[in-house]
């Protein structure tokens, strides 16, 4: 009876509180279960003493549990049935109570130890996984996808927890109590033992046959649940678009189709796996009937060998014997998915796609901020080059503008300078030293980035502005915000700098978010400034103010700017024109215009109109 609960909760682990989104039932079989098993065991090394301790208590509890029916049966046979000795019977009952008490104590101690160990295990998995993720190159994020990583870090770890916290003691005590019950039965009486065991082959056959069918349906169910989750997430996130195009009805029909498919797959799966429970009840009932039939007959035939006490002990044993078998067959699937989960988790730990720290880092005390790329090649996916033979240098205090059509690789140059990724060939230097020789934190402290889509953490504007410089004073923060033209709108917010930024920054416009991101970078005060189309979402007036601030900020700093707007670029000390993965032209605006090449064509398309107005104003 109780097993049905265990069974369903195993297949729908999502019901554990707080486990939101991204849950896929993990029925997939581990590819190499032995490897992930040993791996997991090694991972639990520090928990070995506590696990051994809990095992000792558990074994004690099981032995006591196995012994109890014998004591009980003997007490009845010796002191009630064959002779009547109530004081001896009382003594036996006191002993029995003692056994039960010790059984409780050992079980409780063992449970507490396992509770500690299993929670400790997933604490450690989360911690190690998170630390590893902080060191991984962004190319891992690109490949795996954030949703998948989150799923590994939450659901997969959760399956390990479920299997470990319920499975460890169940498997151990289940196996032990099967063995113990078997031994006790055979010692007590051999024919009756066979009576109990006679249904076992049928039970096993059933488990094997059903197991196969359940697995097929489980996979189908898992697939449909995944489809349903995607449909839910996409529809909810895209509901505004759906409404805009007035497609609510059509979307609803599509959704309920997916919903119905998920429902039918779930019904198939749950009905199939539910068959296990009534079947096991049947086996239990039949073995009980056999014990009564054979035992009862034998009591009549040879009362000197068979007693009612003996039969009552066997009735208890029959129950004790089938209970763990039922549990073990349920736990098997749970263990399988836990191993698959562990494997997926260890894939994070094993990824060597790391941005490695140098063994002997150079100290970057007084950085000037000279940047140079020397014959740099790079590709995100092997075989599809994104950058080839990129060579340029930008000296301290200069402004370098990177221009070119969308998808030419402009953003990649900046990703490499920051060491979000490492180059495939060539090298990048800062102040003449390969950037791989700097401590990562030193390198990145030299650089300030304003990304295309600014990201903020849930928290106040103040916390977000201070993100890059925790020790900044209130005054410094306000100064930075003022320089970025953000102070005004922040002050207009009801909560000012304490305004909490919501998930998608609903309370700020895109332009305002840009301003905040710029203020954040100004406050961090880097040596090298990287602006990735940072101004493209800000209206021209605001942009004009920012450019003033930037001009002031850029003094003495190396700046690399990606922007479509040539007004910024015209004032740059040098332009890099990126096209077809490489730098095709390089020089100042005047020089490149004189060359009459790619850049001058790009320029004339953009500023055809400007020419017209110039003519007009003449």
């Amino acid at each position: 009876m109780a097993e049905t609960a265990a069974h369903e909760s195993k297949t729908t682990q999502k019901i554990r509180p707080g486990n939101r989104g991204h849950h896929h039932m993990n029925f997939e079989k581990p590819k190499d279960s032995k490897a992930s098993r040993t791996r997991l065991l090694r991972y639990m090394k520090e928990l070995t003493p506590i696990l051994l301790g809990s095992m000792v208590f558990l074994v004690t509890a099981v032995l006591l549990q196995v012994a109890a029916p014998t004591v009980l049966g003997n007490a009845i046979t010796d002191h009630l049935e064959r002779s009547l000795d109530l004081s001896a019977f009382l003594r036996q009952m006191i002993i029995l109570s003692g056994i039960y008490l010790s059984m409780f104590a050992s079980r409780a101690v063992s449970s507490v130890m396992i509770a500690h160990a299993s929670n400790r295990l997933i604490y450690k998995m989360r911690r190690d996984g998170f630390e590893k993720l902080q060191r991984l190159s962004l190319s891992y994020y690109d490949r795996a996808g954030v949703g998948d990583i989150i799923s590994r870090m939450t659901n997969d770890i959760e399956t390990v927890y479920n299997a470990f916290s319920n499975g460890f003691s169940s498997v151990l005590s289940g196996t032990l109590s099967i063995i113990g019950t078997l031994a006790a039965m055979f010692i007590l009486n051999i024919p009756l033992s066979f009576a109990v065991l006679s249904v076992v082959p049928f039970a096993l056959l059933f488990v094997v046959l059903l197991g196969r069918r359940v697995k097929v349906r489980a996979l189908e169910n898992q697939k449909q649940v995944g489809g349903l989750n995607t449909a839910i997430e996409e529809s909810v996130e895209g509901m505004k678009i759906i409404q805009t195009f007035h497609q609510e009805q059509k979307q609803y029909e599509g959704f309920s189709e997916v919903n119905a498919r998920a429902r039918d797959a779930a019904i198939d799966f749950f009905v199939e796996s539910y068959k296990m429970m009534p079947m096991m009840e049947l086996m239990n009932g039949i073995s009980l009937a056999l014990v009564v039939a054979i035992g009862g007959t034998l009591v009549i035939i040879s009362p000197e060998l068979y007693s009612i006490g003996l039969i009552s002990a066997f009735i208890l044993y029959a129950r004790q014997f089938f209970e763990p078998i039922r549990q073990l067959s349920n736990i098997y699937n749970m263990l399988q998915s836990a191993l698959a989960g562990a494997e997926r988790f260890f894939q994070i730990i094993d990824t060597d796609d790391m941005i490695s720290e140098p063994e002997h880092p150079v100290t970057a005390e007084e950085a000037r901020g000279d940047v140079a790329f020397e014959q740099v090649d790079f590709s995100y996916v092997t075989g599809t080059p994104v950058l080839e033979q990129i060579t340029f240098s930008a000296s301290s205090g200069s402004v370098t503008a990177i221009v070119g059509p969308t998808g030419a690789g402009k953003t990649t140059i900046i990703n490499l300078l920051n060491r979000f990724y490492d180059v495939d060939a060539g090298r990048i230097t800062v102040d003449g030293r390969d950037i791989r020789d700097y401590r990562l934190s030193d390198l990145r402290a030299m650089m300030g980035v304003v990304l295309q889509e600014p990201f903020f953490f849930a928290g106040s504007i103040r916390e977000n502005l201070m993100y890059g410089r925790l020790e900044a004073s209130e005054q410094q923060m306000i100064e930075a915000a003022t320089l970025a033209n953000a102070h005004h709108f922040i002050s207009c917010l009801p909560e000012g700098y304490d305004t909490i930024l919501t998930e998608r920054g609903m309370n700020l416009s895109q332009g305002e978010r840009q301003l905040l991101a710029i203020a954040r970078t100004i406050l961090a005060d880097p040596k090298i400034l990287i602006l990735d189309e940072a101004t493209s979402n800000i209206d021209s007036l605001t942009e004009a103010h920012i450019q003033q601030a930037m001009k002031h900020l850029m003094t003495g700093k190396t700046s690399l700017v990606i922007a479509h707007r040539l007004s910024t670029i015209k004032n740059a000390d040098q332009l890099l024109v990126i096209h077809d993965h490489t730098i095709i032209e390089q020089g100042t605006h005047q020089e490149l215009m004189a060359q009459q090449g790619f850049y001058s064509r790009l320029y004339s398309i953009q500023f055809e109109q400007a020419q017209v107005t110039e003519d007009m104003s003449i």
């Binding site: 909760s9 554990r16 998170f130 916290s165 009932g285 009612i308």
Partner: protein
């Protein structure tokens, strides 16, 4: 209680299978209760009579009851699985419909994650409760009552011993269960905290690295992780103790029953036989079993109640924008738009517009330019009633939009929103989104008008190229062009482009606008942009600032007369 009843309403179409299922469940539980009784008869009657035939008869009866019980409990379970799955299906559909009817103001009030959790895991939790919680609750109650009754029938005097033990155990049990429940809540909160930190960290991976904040991030995560560890361990330990404790109570009750029963067996006057003593101790154990199950029911119930509350919260929302009482249906319109004396604010925020007036002629092409936060997008969101105005009125072809049926209003207007969300599926499906019956030719024409045809053809499979979840696999500029094509294709009488050319280069941007100009469809068009390049060819340009139109006219007029427009123009033109 209200959320509970409200969600239980979803079960009413399945009343019949549910009732059948529970009747079958009662039958199978009764059959199970019969087993110890028949064992007792076999011992007391069969062995006493020395008749193997009788014993075999009882054994056969036990076997038969097992077969019956199996069949009955199988059908009971299947019925329940069907009912619970259908219920969750209905519930998800209803929640989906509810969200479909949300206004943008409603969306602002919710986080996307919160909505997803409700449709997704909360519904599953409720289904679990129906399937397992109710099942276990009924089954354990039957067993509890049945075994207590049997005990009274066998021997009322020992049964009265149980009548003392049981309430004590029950009280203890409910006390511990209710003290665990709040800790469950804490576990949930702690895990939420951990997962939120993780998610934010992953989404903001670049930022974390740029500012070298990994050590702080690790510390932040570890604080949450450790807090979760402590609270979750506490719950696991408590449960780890309570379960064996219940078993202990059950076992001790057996000992007490056996001792009391043994004393009674000694005196034949009590009418206590050995067989009934064994049956009695069996029932004692059986009676304690439901208590352990009730523990599970309680944890299902407390989780389900929390989920029901959340689902109910969503279901009871009345979308702020509703169909008018007596709606006017527009099958087509000329596209004449008037804003008169409109005032609007978001929630309790500062007013975005006060006494705003504007009229746009049928077939006119209007450009809107202005500073961040000037209210350009807000203005356009008022037109299809994504938000409602607080004062004043907006008319379409001189009919107040609040009187037009929502569906016909929105099907006359197409907006390409700033957020260029695409869906998984092929590129063609995405472009066809607003006009499901569009031909391939129309799709190609729309794509060509949005300057998207070329890059689409470079993709593997061209228009049949499959995009990932949320349209992954395209650059920002490509997404914008697909979303423009989608809007152009679906656009009936009014087309609005809300700053959807920000990631495009100047020449592409201009080509798209030229295509719109050249198109002969009679259509009112409104183009919002921060770039003069995108709007300079429109019939009329509106310059907006802080919720008002400070100037309007053609490009040539404004460049002469409007100081703000000149400033914008200068910052965007290196030649000046």
């Amino acid at each position: 209680m209200k959320p509970f009843l409200e969600t239980m309403r979803f079960l009413s179409p399945y009343r019949k299978p549910m009732v059948i299922s529970f009747i079958l469940l009662i039958c199978s539980s009764l059959l199970m209760l019969l087993q110890p009784k028949m064992t007792q008869w076999a011992i007391d009657i069969g062995i006493a009579a020395g008749s193997p035939v009788m014993i075999l008869g009882f054994a056969a009866a036990i076997g038969l009851s097992a077969v019956l019980s199996m069949t009955v409990s199988y059908y009971s379970g299947v019925k329940l699985i069907h009912a619970s799955q259908h219920m969750s299906y209905d519930m998800r559909n209803e929640l989906f419909k509810k969200i479909s009817a949300f206004s943008f103001a409603d969306f602002d009030a919710w986080r996307t994650g919160e909505l997803i959790v409700r449709i997704n895991s909360d519904v599953s939790t409720i289904r679990m409760f129906i399937r397992m919680g109710l099942f276990l609750l009924i089954q354990s109650l039957i067993i509890l009552i049945g075994s207590l009754t049997s005990m009274f029938i066998i021997n009322a005097r020992i049964a009265s011993v149980m009548a003392v033990i049981m309430p004590i155990v029950l009280a203890l049990f409910f006390f511990s269960a209710s003290s665990i429940r709040p800790i469950f809540e804490q576990v949930r909160t702690a895990l939420d905290q951990v997962n939120n930190t993780l998610q934010e960290n992953l989404v903001g991976a670049k930022l974390v690295r740029s500012f070298s904040r990994q050590p702080e991030e690790i510390r932040k995560f570890d604080t949450g992780n450790l807090a979760y560890f402590h609270i979750s361990r506490k719950v696991s330990m408590l449960i780890g103790i309570i379960m064996p404790l219940m078993m202990l109570f059950g076992n001790l009750a057996v000992v007490i029953v056996l001792y009391a029963g043994g004393n009674m067996v000694a005196d034949p006057a009590n009418g206590m036989t050995l067989g009934s003593l064994i049956a009695f101790s069996n029932y004692t154990l059986t009676a304690f079993f439901p208590l352990i199950m009730l523990g599970m029911v309680l944890s299902f119930l407390s989780m389900a109640l929390a989920s029901m509350k959340r689902v109910h919260e969503l279901l009871q929302i009345t979308p702020t924008i509703r169909e008018p009482q007596d709606p006017v249906h527009l099958s087509s319109c000329a596209g004449r738009i008037t804003f008169s004396d409109v005032s609007f604010r978001y929630g309790d925020g500062a007013p975005v517009f006060e006494h705003f007036d504007l009229s746009i002629d049928s077939g006119e092409m209007v450009g809107i330019i202005g500073t961040t936060g000037a209210g350009k997008s807000t203005l356009m969101h008022l037109l299809p009633r994504f938000y409602d105005t607080q004062e004043g009125s907006i008319t379409l072809d001189d009919i107040d939009i609040c009187r037009i049926s929502l569906s016909s209003l929105r099907s006359r207007i197409t907006i390409a929103l700033q957020e260029t969300m695409l869906f998984s599926g092929t590129i063609a499906e995405n472009i066809r989104f607003g006009k499901p019956d569009a031909t391939d030719r129309e799709i190609r024409e729309a794509a060509a008008a949005a300057c998207a045809h070329e890059f689409i053809m470079e993709k593997e499979g061209g228009y049949e190229h499959v995009l990932g979840e949320r349209g992954q696999g395209l650059s920002g500029g490509q997404r914008q062009r697909i979303s423009i094509a989608r809007a152009i294709l679906s656009a009936p009488d009014i087309l609005i482009l809300d700053d959807v050319t920000s990631a495009l280069d100047a020449s592409t941007e201009r080509t798209i606008i030229e295509h719109l100009h050249a198109s002969e469809v009679s259509q009112t068009r409104i183009i919002i942009s921060q770039k003069i390049n995108a709007i300079r060819q429109t019939d009329r340009i509106l310059v907006m600032d802080r919720g008002t139109i400070i100037a309007s006219g053609t490009h040539d007029e404004l460049i002469q007369s409007c100081r703000t427009y000149q400033e914008i123009y200068e910052t965007q033109n290196p030649a000046s």
